[in-house]
Assembly symmetry: C2
Amino acid sequence: MPSRMILTALTGVPEVTPGDDLVQVVADSINVSGEILINGDILVVAQKIVSKAEGRIVDFDSVKPSQRALVLAEQVDKDPRHVELVLQESNEVVKYRPGVLIVEQKLGLVMANAGIDHSNIQQNEAGERILLLPVDPDASANRLKDGLRKRFDVSVGIVINDSVGRAWRIGTVGLAIGVAGLPAVLDLRGEPDRHGRELLVSEQAVADELASAASLLQGQAAEGLPIVLVRGFSSNAPEQGADALIRSREMDMFR
Amino acid sequence: MPSRMILTALTGVPEVTPGDDLVQVVADSINVSGEILINGDILVVAQKIVSKAEGRIVDFDSVKPSQRALVLAEQVDKDPRHVELVLQESNEVVKYRPGVLIVEQKLGLVMANAGIDHSNIQQNEAGERILLLPVDPDASANRLKDGLRKRFDVSVGIVINDSVGRAWRIGTVGLAIGVAGLPAVLDLRGEPDRHGRELLVSEQAVADELASAASLLQGQAAEGLPIVLVRGFSSNAPEQGADALIRSREMDMFR
């Protein structure tokens, strides 16, 4: 564990559009910000720009709601096209009531609206456009990590983060939906505390904590600072993807 | 929102014992670490040292389990004295099964074992000692803030954090159980995104994000770095305590 950690929000990140090369976007932003990547750095990248680069955009008007979406839309008081997209992106509906639709998104994330985002999407002339989560954010994180290694000969960690609400807490926090080059979870089992007692709390979700830390700089509104460079966090634990953070349904006490 | 944030784990924090003055503990650690507090700094302080300073320690052998604790202890396969303490510290039991006891702690926090901690407590000759959460962590945070203002003529924010598990995620993250001198939650409603659309995600739990960020440096094992100085986070939003993070039972979809 380090004693100092520095987080820097990169400036000059352009508006990302489908097909953009995220390695190039990061490289340009690092350059404009006057930074140099070093081994062990971690880049926290907002889900929005990953989804945009990967073309995970749907024209809202093109969505045809199913019968199931129409019925559920009535119950949750939402646009049936929005509900249709949420259902397409989900394994199951977990809870709903007027104004709220909580699902298990296809990645196993339990969240409102399958993480489908109205904000920060440009309207085109044809109408509204909706952003979906990346299909495989761990793979997206690995591609970015590998691309940066090739380009800069440097080994960095990647966290793709999103702002997600919680069951028993007010407000959203940044969570890790994709991870490469670092351990998503630190297993502390067997490590004694300073009095030699075995620790009861045994796993620390460091990727989520990194996602939350970066979220403090990213802003969610007009600022638009989607890439945060984290320097000073290191761990010798084995690398894992964000799938290590998903609690299996069998271990879930709240469904 | 700032573009850079620096987190520093203070060194030289002594073993805290009941009756210790936390203002003095922080002042000494700041000094040993070669830091100087400036206006707008935030200190994230681990719950453990706040609880210890406030004497929230129970001799385990002195606990007499009630009939209710004896029955529940059988069902969750835990020591009846531990279950008795958990019940004393809780408003209600939320869920349980063998090995797991989730409650609404008296502060409204939904968490395992009411945050009662076996680790990082010294055994004395009489036997095991258990650490409870502070009675009123927002008040504890305010006292520390006021004490530091008197001592250094400086206005800092305080977050008291603890490591807490989540319903649908593996691993613990740092959460804010006490807050003073900053907004626990940022209300983003009405702030447009960069395309002028109103934001749907409207509240950001910045105190929890600060608690998680600091947790990355605190370690949970032998390192023992309970105080983290955060520089570079600022907000003009009104100050709120950590009680602003508690979702009311009526708004809770999972009980």
